[in-house]
């Protein structure tokens, strides 16, 4: 068996922050079951109870990991209530988390399958009501990483029964696109819900985009940040293939006064 194959990748995404021991406790539980686990932290700085933000950050990351990875995602304000726990399989990856919309993007993957976490012999012996990341999701992820099949981990459940977020989508009209900001990154870059392929298909041959973002108008797509002068706004295609509004060497969020949910309008430049 190749060395890498013995160290299954488990990624973690939570709103637990890094000051408390919650994330370390999840890892401790996993290591007790699967000592070979190779952890990669995606983010623990999802805003508290920020299900939509967590769903988006997970969506930007998981595809880059090797097939066979297990992704544990926990933003779980209803922990301990009747909300279900889930394990999903899609595109050769596994996902574990609460049934509250956090895994919405995954449900749209071709061939996605889901099970409800109903089999306590895959949980910790004692399951409380406030920390299922420790008691349920970490041990289930560890068992998946060790090779337990999805069909053994829980009871099959139809994707249509699962909760989905109303995912932000651009309004694409013949004469105008209204996109929306779905993520503000550390640099103040504004990532929209408009995908590169959607924009290019709408623009069609020979047209250029005119973009209105708050107080500024942008008449071209740049390729990289330093293409404009320091402090100037620009639009480009983000590393996740979405339209992004930025300010070179500055924060577009601060400079343009825009944030989550703000509209960005695209028209064709005559």
């Amino acid at each position: 068996m190749p060395d890498g194959a013995r160290r299954p990748i488990i990624t973690l995404l939570t709103d637990f922050g890094i000051a408390d021991a919650h994330v370390a406790i999840m890892k401790a539980v996993v290591l007790s079951i699967c000592p070979e686990a190779n952890f990669v932290d995606i983010s623990h700085e999802i805003p508290p109870q920020g299900i939509a933000q967590g769903a988006f950050v997970l969506e930007t990351a998981w595809r880059q990991f090797p097939s066979g990875s297990v992704h544990v995602a926990v933003v779980d304000p209803e922990v301990g209530s009747a909300r279900r726990g889930l394990a999903l399989q899609a595109s050769g990856h596994h996902f574990v988390g609460p049934d509250n919309g956090l895994l919405s993007y995954i449900l749209d993957e071709d061939g996605a399958r889901a099970v409800a976490l109903t089999r306590p012999w895959y949980f910790l012996n004692k399951v409380g009501h406030t920390f299922h990341a420790r008691d349920v999701f970490a041990p289930v992820a560890a068992h998946l990483a060790r090779g337990t099949a999805l069909s053994s981990i829980g009871d099959a459940v139809a994707l249509t029964e699962l909760r989905r977020l109303p995912l932000s989508r651009p309004s694409i009209q013949p004469g105008e696109i209204e996109a929306h900001i779905v993520h503000v990154d550390r640099f103040g870059n504004l990532i929209t819900d408009l995908k590169k392929a959607e924009l290019l298909s709408w623009l069609s041959e020979g047209n250029r985009a005119h973009i209105q973002a708050g107080p500024v108008e942008i008449n071209r797509l740049s390729r990289y940040y330093a293409e404009v002068e320091p402090g100037q706004p620009l639009a480009l295609i983000s590393s996740s293939d979405r339209v992004e509004i930025s300010v070179n060497l500055g924060s577009a969020s601060e400079k343009l006064g825009l944030g989550l949910g703000s509209a960005v309008r695209v028209t064709r430049l005559e």
Copy 2:
């Protein structure tokens, strides 16, 4: 030898933050001695010089790790002075850190044993006065992880000679318990020093708890956060089996104006 056994777990807890390279330097030193080390960060966001907070966060985490783990804890304002360095063994785990109370909770474990770190051949060649995490604690942890016995690492020292924090304890009277907040987590949840077992034993059969926390009175123990309406306060048993005051989908710390050391009063509901 099983694969897991070749990768000894070393956890790290410090007040170093994550912007500087201090934690990476500790790991570099460990890897130079024990290349198989499997690191888990517990927290590096202990408030600067926050010995009591560090002791509490360590106490919430270490038991979850497999036996044989080595826990390095460094909150060390007296670094370089005459304060001792310690290695402890308790319940099958090892602990390394300064003798300043940070390891107070461990000293109460059955069968705990301690040695003072007096043997420079287990340290880096050059030991300075400002960074014993690098020069002393990291190399000692690496040697323990490689299998050096506690009795070889240092000179036995009686537990009674070691410094202890005045650990916060609830005042349990026949008619009332006064508990105290010992931790505020990322969500603003208020964790008290009152343990579940203490509360249940005091309440006795058929009685219910009435809890006064700052401006609010709470007449029942909830099982989970979403049991009350958004924005409403509640009390429940925390994931570390302590009485916890929370606000569903909000910050109890902000909403109730309570923080570290604040009192929480429990009486029996007639």
Copy 3:
């Protein structure tokens, strides 16, 4: 082959922060090429576009790692422009990052060699303009970690052609040294550009240093923080062998009103 040798160390230093998935995506790319990679995060909290700060933090850390480590450093405001990507070899370590000064300190190492990253077969299949950490630097680091030689990874380039920061240096005069603060750590300690060896050589036998740092005068070098009363300023030799101004149990930066670039004057005490 010993177990440790099969797990090449890859360190990461960026200005990406830890809320977004950028760092996880870099690790995912590395693991796809080099599943045995053993990651150590140096810092992801370099201030956005803080090339000089990143260079300094890297310099304080990399020497502690075992020979053979690969250090990926990305603070890259000009990503996607004509600025070069680099791989360096120095003192048995490899370094990967943009040619913008971030690797300035490494260029001064004896025997340092550099190549420009011009061979797309070591990159991801699709290279964009905004995230070379993912598309170029991570895969190149993974190939170096797997044993690809520096001379194969890119085209040799003379060190004199590479961009260097104007690294902060103290002004050492016969009667006075003017040092400068080059780093403020989490505790508010002020690290200067004056190295221990430079100070000792200048002071000469029998002389003591008199240090003026903002509003305070310090008449001796302390060995450790707790040597002075709580709240009092002191000077000592930092863990990276530089002159450091501190306040015991407090923040020198706040208390003295000093920060990056501030001058610290050293004279000989009569």
